[in-house]
């Protein structure tokens, strides 16, 4: 018997097993990228009340459509809003804008869309017969875009956007979110 060979092979296999054992213990990095996470947003400099997109980054193929939700984040006593969204119309074309469920009440909200090529403006008013305002986090609208060309494009909320309470007084918006669309 070739003991030397056996020993060498055994040592190699043992080292391999230990190595695999150690390799299998990789610690994954934390990735808290939910655009509705207050803590994660705070790290990005977005503080409530804010307007954000979800998802805030997305990979699609050129020519495909993508739906992006617009959220009001941790807002208090909201009665109406005027939200301006900027996009590059050479990269994206707006297909549709659907009302979200945040303003839903016993009476449908006033929901008006204005598409001015590279800017879409959403007007929305809370119309409940009992309550006069809403608070918290919720989906205001869902925007569907079609990717026109490959490349990176940014969807952003214009700082002219405003939140109003039931007295038509402005609520300061502290954070304006973005969504990065990467089309291949």
């Amino acid at each position: 018997m070739n003991f030397l060979l056996i020993k060498k092979n055994y040592l190699l296999s043992l080292i391999s097993v230990i190595y695999i054992f150690l390799l299998s213990c990789k610690i994954p990095e934390d990735s808290f990228e939910n655009p509705l996470d207050l803590e994660a947003n705070a790290e990005k400099g977005i503080f409530p009340p804010a307007l954000v997109f979800s998802p805030d980054s997305v990979y699609i193929n050129s020519g495909e459509s993508i739906s992006i939700d617009l959220y009001a984040l941790a807002v208090d006593s909201l009665a109406g809003a005027q939200i301006e969204i900027d996009y590059y119309d050479s990269s994206l074309s707006l297909e549709s804008v659907e009302k979200g469920d945040f303003f839903d009440a016993n009476t449908n909200p006033i929901f008006i869309i204005e598409d001015n090529n590279s800017k879409v403006i959403i007007y929305i008013t809370y119309m409940d017969s009992v309550k006069t305002n809403i608070s918290g986090t919720g989906n205001i609208a869902t925007l569907t875009f079609n990717s026109l060309i490959p490349g990176l494009t940014v969807l952003s909320i214009n700082k002219n956007s405003i939140f109003l309470n039931e007295n038509s007084s402005e609520i300061t918006i502290n954070g304006f979110g973005k969504s990065i669309i990467n089309a291949n």
């Binding site: 230990i18 939910n34 984040l73």
Partner: protein
């Protein structure tokens, strides 16, 4: 005709055995030629002991025979006539007398033994009567020739050990038994028992490399063997346990991460983020513990190999592998036997 002769022969043989078995026998020192008297007495003693072991005849202790004949000033080796046999038989109160003759010539050994019936030797030679106050010989009988009821011979060529074996076989055959083969094997083992086991150091290390503690066990260091094996098993089990904890924490972390990304409720998002962070902490802790245990495992493994390399074998011989005292049942003698061995090195 042949069959008849065979029957007669077998009847005679069984008759001789029947005559001897269960009777008392005294063995006289074998006469010698080519060996000295001490050797002759030693061989006689071996024959005597082996015949005793058969347990079918009552053999008189050689010491008693010696003392008795010394008292009567009888030379054992010269006791070849009727008168002497008769006298010895009467004084020892035995039914049979065995004498023998050993001859050695280079590697050739010859042994001839004769069995005499004492009663035959005690027949009167003359018949007397008292006539007018005088002893008158009425009849004078012819002195019968001293004839053995059985004679056995060995012609052996070889070593003294072989000749001794032959003597032992002869003792069993004399009473119509076959010497058990087991006994022969046992004797061979006893002859080999002093052989020192050549401890393979490389084999020891290799065994310990393959399985911690195995090399130590191989050389008889069982306590050390179990110690290394136990330590490696315990630390290994702890490492595996920590690995399982790590895997469990990893699965939880991945699940919480997925739920977190899909969630739209800020409170749930907060909760899932905290849970995911806790899982990650558990994962890191388990990983650190497991790494420590793996290092310990490697350390113990290396120490075990070094120990196997330097440790002295506790039991270098087969003799030493056995306890000093052995209580066993001897199949040959049909009785329990207590053995005692002493380490001579």
């Amino acid at each position: 005709m042949h069959r008849q002769a065979l029957y007669i022969f077998l009847i005679n043989i069984s008759f001789v055995f029947a005559q001897i078995n269960g009777k008392s026998i005294a063995i006289l020192d074998f006469d010698n030629n080519g060996i000295n008297k001490m050797e002759s007495i030693a061989l006689t003693n071996i024959f005597n002991d082996e015949l005793t072991k058969t347990d079918v005849v009552s053999v008189i202790d050689r010491k008693i025979v010696k003392e008795n004949l010394l008292e009567q000033d009888i030379d054992q080796t010269k006791c070849k006539n009727l008168g002497c046999i008769s006298e010895v038989g009467a004084s020892l109160n035995v039914q049979f007398i065995i004498d023998g003759f050993i001859q050695k010539n280079k590697n050739s050994f010859n042994l001839e033994i004769n069995i005499y019936k004492v009663f035959d030797a005690m027949k009167p030679l003359i018949v007397t009567s008292l006539v007018n106050g005088e002893v008158v010989v009425r009849k004078k009988m012819k002195e019968p020739k001293l004839t053995a009821i059985k004679t056995k011979k060995i012609n052996y060529k070889g070593t003294t050990d072989g000749f001794i074996d032959e003597i032992k076989v002869m003792a069993w055959e004399l009473v119509g038994l076959i010497r058990p083969e087991e006994k022969v094997q046992q004797n061979k083992q006893i002859a080999n028992v002093e052989t020192v086991v050549n401890i393979d150091r490389y084999g020891t290390v290799l065994r310990s490399t393959l399985v911690p503690g195995l090399g130590q066990m191989y050389i008889g260091e069982k306590t050390w063997g179990w110690l290394w094996m136990g330590a490696e098993t315990i630390v290994g089990a702890l490492a595996i346990s920590e690995f399982n904890s790590y895997k469990s924490a990893l699965n939880n972390h991945n699940a919480y991460q997925n739920e977190y990304l899909l969630s739209k409720d800020p409170l749930t998002i907060d909760l899932l983020r905290i849970k995911a962070q806790e899982s990650r902490k558990s994962m890191i802790k388990a990983d650190e513990q497991m790494t420590s245990f793996l290092y310990a495992l490697g350390g113990i493994w290396m120490a075990n190999i070094i120990h196997a390399l330097v440790v002295k074998p506790k039991n270098p011989t087969l003799v030493m592998n056995k306890p000093a005292f052995n209580l066993a049942y001897n199949d040959i003698l049909k009785q329990p036997e207590l053995r005692f061995s002493i380490k001579l090195d």
